[in-house]
Symmetry: C2
Subunit: 566 residues, 2 copies
Amino acid sequence: MAAAVVANGKKKLEQIGPKIGVISGPTNPMVTPLLTDLYQFTVAYAYWKDGKHNERAVFDLYFRKNPFGGEYTIFAGLEECIKFIAHYKLTEDEIAFIRKSLPPSCEDAFYNYLRGIDCSDVEIFSIPEGSVVFPKVPLMRIEGSIAVVQLLETALVNLINYASLVTTNAARHRFVAGKSKLLLEFGLRRAQGPDGGVSASKYCYMGGFDATSNVAAGKLFGIPLRGTHSHAFVSSFMSLDEITERSLKHLDSPKVCKDFVCPVKMWLTKLKRSRLLGGIFSETNQSELAAFASYGLAFPGSFLALVDTYDVMRSGVPNFCAVALALNDLGYRAVGIRLDSGDLAYQSCEARKFFQTIEKEFGVLGFGKMNITASNDLNEETLDALKKQGHEVDSFGIGTHLVTCYAQPALGVVFKLVEINNQPRIKLSEDVTKVSIPCKKRCFRLYGKEGYPLVDIMTGENEPPPKVGERILCRHPFTESKRAYVVPQRVEELFKCFWPGSSDKIREDLPPLKDIRERCIEQLEQMRPDHMRRLNPTPYKVSVSAKLYDFIHFLWLNEAPVGELQ
Amino acid sequence: MAAAVVANGKKKLEQIGPKIGVISGPTNPMVTPLLTDLYQFTVAYAYWKDGKHNERAVFDLYFRKNPFGGEYTIFAGLEECIKFIAHYKLTEDEIAFIRKSLPPSCEDAFYNYLRGIDCSDVEIFSIPEGSVVFPKVPLMRIEGSIAVVQLLETALVNLINYASLVTTNAARHRFVAGKSKLLLEFGLRRAQGPDGGVSASKYCYMGGFDATSNVAAGKLFGIPLRGTHSHAFVSSFMSLDEITERSLKHLDSPKVCKDFVCPVKMWLTKLKRSRLLGGIFSETNQSELAAFASYGLAFPGSFLALVDTYDVMRSGVPNFCAVALALNDLGYRAVGIRLDSGDLAYQSCEARKFFQTIEKEFGVLGFGKMNITASNDLNEETLDALKKQGHEVDSFGIGTHLVTCYAQPALGVVFKLVEINNQPRIKLSEDVTKVSIPCKKRCFRLYGKEGYPLVDIMTGENEPPPKVGERILCRHPFTESKRAYVVPQRVEELFKCFWPGSSDKIREDLPPLKDIRERCIEQLEQMRPDHMRRLNPTPYKVSVSAKLYDFIHFLWLNEAPVGELQ
């Protein structure tokens, strides 16, 4: 990407070339080194001016509170971060703009310094994408020259924040809907901008959705695509006369039905006269019937109709069945219906009864199992309410609430300095939950006898790691009284090296989206059920080692001013 | 863009070339014809298969409810829509992907049809961007071949939805903050994805913000940039010894201060010993002092410090003042401080007193007027609460709540068919507020004697327009009893032609962002104050002509099935 156009950056990028491997640039070409806050450049200048810019610093990227009132979060966005890092290079044009944006008193040599910057000396350890994660435990640990790492901050936080939020939201929707339902993401039109839409599709799939309506996301990420037709399609028809191309070949024979509208009309009459179905409807809407017949002609093998344009049970469902039964006569199986308004639980049950009656009365095997998709402003609460009421919906199409994370549209991911020149640093705050945990750290997940994760523990980089079968004291980072001994049955080191910088560590491959999705689903299944409850879930424990605890509090006292009451 | 690579689309695009004029492609390269729902392509196929694809259709793009509990909305996103339209052209690669995504039974000739599609025959009338708009009144009227217009739907809705929402949110923040405050958008890191961030910056500026921290947005749109430094910058310092480059030239003379740290220390001692300031603080944090001194050395002409890393009044403000006063001795004026936590009202008042005391005691003219910026999870409510408490903040930096539209993260923009082949169409719903208003329409804003807009009225395309001084009946579109006579003092036609298609109408130019921003500010000022209140605002009236009213209800009765109570 940038490398191709920046002549003087070429050499260095070539050096890190082998490390990039096949890492392509960010999915969104707008993710450039300028996707950052101005103060990252002013601070870089101040570091540079003071000769401090190359001091080695360690930053933690983490969040402080699980979203949506839950007790877990899914970590997502790592791949995009690594793509950004791998191609980080300021172009001349970008440098010219930075120069224009800083005071004219800034020295020229600084821009030469910017010209030379890339991420060949940055080291990123991270929890793998698609993992279940918890507050305060760093998702990523970024180490490098302080000026360079700060220049990365805003983009990294941006790329992780929404990605993790919407993946978590998708996972929560999946949890409520249950494993057996098909979940479709329909949010593009309501998303916060074009790439809000595209990344929502990616991360909802990661979080457990089955498909998206978003064609661009299908192409970019290989996500299965789904879609039916719109209300406008239905209301664009006036009558059956508009159907000009009416012939349809039998599926399994060379026979051709010359006027498909005939069997459709015939079936509608049959349904109307049926003893069991009679009375449910009288005259159906003819524009709707025309639209369905036309759609059936276009997609005989995958006929799915939106049935709520006029009236679900008095028009949409009978019209759909007439077309589906006519298709059935030609050997085709209709897929089903979509409900997009009204009482979805009730309508789905009524539609199911209608389908089952047809199966019985006309002996159409499998007709009762017709797919019912529901959409219309669905969210966790309505999915939950539907489940409690009882319904016959097989697939849910979810849009606005899912992709905009309506229940909580932002995750507070932060990026804090924890060490510089091997000196641990702490960020204090009057609000204890905002105090940062200092030191370059390692993080472990300890598993109990039943195979569930019990607690995450952070230790200093050079402490001996927790060992299977060995008792270890896990302390709450800030509250003295909260601590527990744990004898782990399994110890998982959470960080893996995703960008080795100038070190000779092995870089973890970026797995394909499907694998990340599977990881996510597996990790969620592994959790103890009480952490996953929608209401009053049990908080998962996050801790520090005894040594790190002591160190935090030593540093804290050291930095905090002593008050004077007056 | 696309035009350059699609050989067989070239000719047609050349024909519409003069109409594109200088319209560049979408800001985000991800805005392509694939940024749409799959069903737009399935529906296009069904239209095409039935020979219906070229039927002339009219769609309205509108929303049903103002966001944030308010009674107004700002329309934004038009420019991006026109850029999308102007360059609409499917590439071979995109067509190949669509072919892969549709059933194999779809006929080949359809893809040839897709190959030939562009927007040379689409006509777009729209309210100008930056206008105050209201529910139900179409923001855009899109006319063209039904298949083509439907293919545009999802992208247009996506581009308008968030743009209008966040512009409205920005305007509401401006309204609460008042005209005199400087409003800075700081949301990039918490936005919903990279272009959530970039477009938030654009539209917050449009809605009345003064600047952004987002460098990419500064470059793309020419928005003024602002920024200070981070907490990490402060905590990266340990002591004053780290400042290696200490010399600073006087602003207006060739004299050089060889060790800037000396006057800083001297001033800190002076402040500590001051009779009036004494007791407020004792020992300040020395790492913070070092960070400020270093930042002052880097930016002597624009020194602004974040003062809450350790303790605002016992460390941050005195340290800032020591550096600011040392700079002052060399002829430089510091800009001010930023508060990012705690009780902003109280802290700003305390800081202001401190500055004013310094101005008096040490005779530093203007020091009392030092700029105070506040940030930290601000939103409409906190701005309002701050105003009620009384504060001394001059600028607000607003992020998360602003850019994610936390109070309501989605606007329900819809896109409805209102006419096909000159036949008006209506979309019914059990929920009356969801019934669409049929017919190709014109829309007018009627102004009263005092210059305020009184009511918006929609009429059929061919009705005589409302006239100044002539009484006209304005009817609520759905409620029979709600109607009023109006004698307008001014009549403004709301739609202008922004994309003339194959007609010879004149295309409105796309104004520069600054002009749209001014339009927005002017339009807001023009509104009657009771519509703008935060609490219980008066709804602005939206109406239809008597003729259109009768027609809606005729069509409604015609389409709705008659129920049977059982």
